[in-house]
């Protein structure tokens, strides 16, 4: 059974411990950052080859009250991953799924994707997660700390979270925890919801409308004509049925 991370955004205080832990574990270099003209605490502004995890900040007015939402963004490790389905069209197994943990992993073969092919893969992702290191050509993103998992350790981001916003465990246990927490939060936050819990292994618990966190906090479904990612998800459906 795959492993699952539950991210309870109602407990996130945007301390960015997870963001730093991720950088440290993967030994990623620093970015040149700036805040002038950007006006947000979100730093860096977007996911990039040096940041597999990013705490996004979003504020909006809700009946005269400023709501400030935090969203620790990362790869969702989809059950049927559109990035892998698309990548396999061009280079078989350049993107793989670890059957034991459920983690979607980009291998060194991803450097052989052309820039156009990478763009296609990125567009296929319903959460806009894949990035490309322009120097090496490698595709990068969160690995779910797969190496740590195989050594019995939790992902680095989960380990450091001081508020209990991030939990890790067997999928069945995390789903149970997610539904129990959701029913508690629904009492005060009627918009509370789980983001795509049946399709992904990184499940977000949101207490506000998804668009008040991040454009891609939930997969872009039921909006306008069928997009490429929706088309690919349709292609993936028979595989999902076969997997049971």
């Amino acid at each position: 059974m795959p492993k699952t991370i539950l991210i309870d955004t109602s407990r996130c205080t945007a301390c960015r411990g997870c963001q730093i832990a991720c950088k440290e574990w993967h030994e990623l270099p620093a970015n040149k950052t700036y805040q002038v003209g950007w006006g947000s605490h979100q730093n860096p502004p977007d996911l990039n080859p040096n940041n597999y995890k990013l705490v996004r900040f979003n504020e909006h007015l809700d009946n005269g009250v400023v709501r400030w939402n935090f969203f620790p963004d990362q790869c969702r490790h989809c059950d049927i991953a559109p990035c892998k389905e698309t990548g396999d069209f061009y280079i078989e197994e350049a993107i793989v799924q670890d059957e034991q943990t459920g983690a979607i992993l980009y291998t060194s073969k991803t450097k052989d994707f052309s820039k156009e092919q990478f763009e296609e893969i990125r567009e296929a992702c319903p959460y806009d997660v894949p990035r490309r290191n322009e120097t090496t050509g490698l595709m990068v993103k969160c690995t779910m700390c797969n190496d740590r998992l195989h050594n019995g350790m939790p992902p680095a981001c989960v380990k450091v979270c001081p508020t209990g916003a991030m939990q890790f465990g067997e999928r069945e246990d995390m789903l149970k925890l997610a539904h129990s927490r959701l029913s508690d939060l629904k009492k005060d936050w009627p918009n509370a919801m789980l983001a795509d819990p049946d399709a992904v292994n990184v499940i977000y618990l949101l207490i506000d409308k998804p668009e008040h966190y991040h454009k891609y906090s939930v997969a872009q479904a039921n909006i306008g004509p069928m997009s490429k990612q929706q088309f690919l998800a349709t292609l993936a459906r028979p595989f999902k049925v076969m997997k049971g």
């Binding site: 205080t13 350790m153 939790p154 380990k159 001081p162 209990g164």
Partner: protein, 301 residues
């Protein structure tokens, strides 16, 4: 972190140990059943609501454990139940010779003998085990203490389970049964009174080698002699796995294994994980160190 029942914890710990290498794979296949059976017996005895021992605060203040001089007769039927359930499994797991098995069964069929071994264990009476081993023809000398411990442990665990953490204690031996600890742990993240914070954990607890009681202990001190001098204490780990390590005291020459629970995705069962840390015991033996509490795992040659 995951919260799991003891039985589930044992299963997942065995699974982890099994993947370490071929030698561990063999050990798990052989001893796995015993860990699960012991837990079954413990659960059954806990449901039976065994009589709790009286806690004497004055005696405890003087360093005397709760069961120090306690007569074990009130729990005789519990020891009998445990022996009847576990002896067949022990005979199979330890591959006892037919004659040894017969002698052992005949000896432990007598409740007095059964309680005598349990009493000798909590009193640290090694002579009693040596004499009985000779009498029954059991070799090696670590075997009978292990069998007696395996049979007694679920009963002691069930007796002490209601005592909780209420015991005030600052010594390196168990406040309940007086045994030395077989392993220590740095605690996992815990729930605090604050709704918005999760405790950092990392408090040091010693785990009793017999009754499984966990008690808080000074993080910077040797469990055997209380030495707090950082110059004469050392941490050793193998293959870069820093959360499974040996705490060494060069003053008394003893060591104890230590696991940092904050680093585990799934919390290991403390009695079971010791079987998966034999590589650390080997490392300690190579350095001529002796364990704070001898167990089957740290006395394997």
């Amino acid at each position: 972190m995951e919260t799991t029942s003891a039985r589930r914890q044992i299963k997942s710990t065995l699974k982890v140990i099994k993947t370490r290498d071929a030698a561990y794979h063999e050990l798990v296949d052989r001893f796995g059943l015993l860990f699960e059976k012991k837990e079954q017996v413990r659960t059954a005895l806990m449901a039976a609501n065994l009589q709790s021992p009286a806690v004497d605060a004055d005696r405890m203040a003087a360093g005397m454990p709760v069961l120090g001089k306690e007569n074990l007769t009130p729990w005789a039927s519990a020891f009998r139940q445990s022996a009847d359930s576990l002896l067949p499994v022990l005979a199979e797991v330890l591959q006892l010779e037919r004659k040894t098995h017969r002698n052992l069964l005949a000896h432990l069929d007598n409740n007095e003998n059964l309680l005598g071994l349990a009493q000798a264990r909590i009193e640290g009476n090694r002579k009693h085990f040596e004499n009985t081993s000779v009498q029954l023809g059991i070799t090696p000398r670590t075997l009978l203490p292990y069998i007696s411990e395996a049979v007694s442990a679920p009963v002691f665990c069930a007796i002490v389970c209601h005592l909780g953490e209420s015991l005030s204690w600052e010594y390196g031996h168990c406040p309940v049964c007086g045994s030395f600890p077989s392993i220590s742990q740095l605690t996992p993240k815990d729930v605090t009174d604050s709704e918005y914070l999760v405790g950092g954990g990392g408090k040091k607890y010693l785990h009793c080698s017999l009754c499984g009681h966990d008690w808080r202990y000074k993080r910077n001190a040797c469990a055997a002699c209380g030495n707090e001098d950082s110059e004469s204490r050392e941490l050793i780990y193998a293959d870069g796995v820093k959360h499974e390590r040996i705490e060494v005291c060069h003053k008394c020459g003893k060591y104890i294994l230590n696991v940092d629970m904050r680093e585990y995705a799934s919390l290991p069962h403390l009695d079971t994980i010791q079987m998966g840390l034999i590589h650390l015991d080997v490392l300690a033996h190579e350095r001529h160190l002796s364990p704070v509490s001898p167990t089957l795992w740290n006395t394997i040659n």
